[in-house]
Symmetry: C2
Subunit: 418 residues, 2 copies
């Protein structure tokens, strides 16, 4: 990955500033120290559980053999990472993966059940705590569905991904002899995509999970070993944090010119919003999909309130392509004759970058040679590490999410008292 930045005249000096260097080193020391909790993800690309990894592969092979669809039941960090990668890279080596249990909508669940009625189905329940309301409700309905379909053998159609030892789902799995995978207890939901939480859905969808881990390891190695001056994880964190400290900036948008990056944007949004949005701090983060959104929020990005930062992820090569040929002389797009979709998309990207640069807005440009498993793993780790450092620089705990409890508590009280 190549990281560039524009409209940040302060950057060069800042990245050489000794006080900043010291501050970042303090964050790094803390992140790698035992006092910092929920950091199991930090060394995970080199210290992941190889037995578990092998188990993921075996289970996925079995699902690909005996199922048409894998229904993943999870909310937040339990589905966003897997959804992102599968939208980008699903292929015909695997099977369809659908995500349910992200809401309390009967219509949504019934539509999934209707879709699955004549198909062979496996379900993967994912809840680290083992007690997520959305997951347990949908689990109940899906179990009834599986019972009708597979009679006595329905439990063979369930995989539970949860804490190693604790929680209702772990107990339930033990009691009923259900196949399980684990979420390490020191890794939170939004940092869990490289664990079984993401890896099983990836493998079922036909993604090469070895390559994902290799990409993550490369990013990890760069993060651990690159000098301060060449460390992109740190650069992104430091510059973001500096921009935030200038009260002018309220929002960061993540723009991409690949429509299949939309779910990746939602993963990125959760990562940063949950890690930094606390103690009345943080940038509001919002993913955008270009060129679509250039005909929408694009107007605001170009000419609206100057409180935005933009991060652009750009893929230099896309595989599938179409050449545009035999265009009528009268057509306004006559000049595009002989051009390919990729060429046009590249010019849309460069044209947008130029237009956005001209607004004076601070822009990060992340160039990826190709979106494949390796670079996907790389990006996951890159953003996780950078978000952690950014959060620590901001002075918040990037690994908790106390604000998510408030609606849950109210909801449960209302439901108990009705």
């Amino acid at each position: 990955m190549e990281l560039n930045y524009f409209n940040m005249p302060f950057a060069k000096k800042l990245l050489k500033n000794k006080k900043i260097k010291q501050k970042v080193n303090n964050c790094l020391n803390f992140l790698f120290s035992p006092e910092c909790e929920m950091t199991g993800w930090v060394d995970y690309p080199v210290q992941y559980d190889k037995t578990e990894f092998k188990k993921v592969k075996e289970i996925s092979k079995n699902i690909i053999k005996n199922s048409d669809v894998l229904l993943v039941v999870g909310i937040g960090g339990s589905y966003l990472g897997a959804n992102a990668g599968i939208e980008l890279l699903k292929n015909n080596k695997g099977k369809e993966v659908r995500f349910v249990g992200t809401n309390f909508s009967a219509r949504d669940l019934l539509e999934h059940l209707d879709y699955c009625k004549n198909k062979n189905v496996t379900i993967n329940l994912i809840s680290k705590s083992g007690g997520t309301t959305e997951v347990l409700i949908v689990m109940k309905i899906l179990e009834d569905f599986l019972k009708k379909k597979y009679k006595k053998n329905y439990l063979d159609r369930i995989i539970i991904t949860t804490d190693t030892t604790k929680g209702y789902l772990r107990e339930y799995a033990t009691l009923n002899n259900i196949e399980t995978l684990t979420v390490p207890s020191n890794i939170g939901g939004r940092y869990s995509v490289l664990t079984s939480v993401g890896l099983l859905p990836f493998a079922v969808a036909g993604l090469d999970i070895n390559k994902i881990m290799q990409g993550a390891k490369t990013s990890y190695d760069e993060f651990k070993t690159n000098e301060f001056e060449n460390n992109n994880v740190l650069k992104y964190a430091i510059l973001r944090n500096y921009l935030y400290s200038d009260k002018k900036y309220a929002t960061e948008v993540l723009g991409s010119f690949d429509p299949y990056m939309e779910s990746f944007g939602k993963w990125w949004q959760q990562l940063f919003a949950e890690s930094e949005g606390k103690d009345e701090k943080g940038l509001f983060v919002c993913p955008l999909s270009y060129s679509k959104d250039l005909h929408s929020v694009g107007q605001f990005v170009q000419q609206g309130k100057r409180n935005l930062i933009e991060t652009l992820v750009y893929e230099e090569n896309e595989n599938k392509d179409i050449i545009i040929e035999n265009i009528q002389d009268e057509s306004p797009i006559k000049y595009l004759e002989g051009k390919s979709f990729n060429e046009i998309n590249k010019c849309a990207y460069l044209g947008t970058l130029e237009a956005h640069k001209n607004t004076g807005m601070p822009i990060f440009e992340m160039k990826i040679e190709k979106i494949d498993e390796f670079n996907l793993g790389y990006l996951y780790y890159f953003f996780e590490a950078s978000c952690a450092i950014s959060g620590l620089l901001l002075g918040v705990n990037p690994f908790n999410q106390p604000g998510v409890e408030d609606y849950k508590t109210n909801m449960k009280n209302l439901l108990r008292n009705n």
Copy 2:
């Protein structure tokens, strides 16, 4: 619709303030005056072209009869409104509608073509100017696809929706005797959902377009006749504008507890971002989907930087439902036994409203009895009118989008010179 607002102690006084009343009256006078351009949408619910409306119905009947899929080719205002309504209300009286031409992705287009290869297809090209690059490129590829499938008769499979007289697509339709529908020249893309731009896709998807227009008319009547004190269109605009003028607020989120409202959120986002995001002004607007996003941006909404305004759209009755029965005694959701998804979703809504109120954040609550065609039409018009007044109060022209041109100009220059 019921409009409530919370954490706006200034509201009562403000809505009685004579200066504000005068300012709003000036905006209204301007909006209804001939000097204000691109306001064909304002009286449209009572003055729409009945012959065109009839034509939409006839064309849609024909498409339902002879096609499995309608491919709508359009970007921005040419698809967002239709996509929103169809996601909410598609039914088995109609046929499938898919939206293409919103990007320069070969993969996206190829996947649509692959899906359609054994199906009967009609395409609806929508571009008011008749020269939108995304639309003309995809048109070229789709025409080749139709030619192969329908030989000489392929032109019968195309409907063009464009300006009454001007532009390449209009000329092309005349020359080739292609069926057309019109976008009135005084209605811009993001205010066009109640014209043929939205109505044809709606009708093909099985939505009752009479009821949509009735809902819009009811909203229009309320907007035109209700006293200042009871005029929800004006209230929402005035309070939003007041909050904006307090420099504290940077972002408005639109939250809904219906996952099928996501596309409606994208329509709302374009409407406000393109109408107000200019002259270095405007709120950043972002739709959220709850409860999903409560496990993501929800953390920021609850505890992050206090620069948010929230608008909640809540549907009191949802039709399809599931009752949760026979829950194990050990399950953490035992207390939900006998409850329905709707009941739980309602408590999730009320629990969230309470939690968000407790943050002190200004909140608008829009209660809809039921999301149906009538209320959909009502909501479209409500937001259009409110956005227009809000933009005029902000001192911008809510009916142009000059910033959208910048990337296009750059892109075209790059493509011409390569």
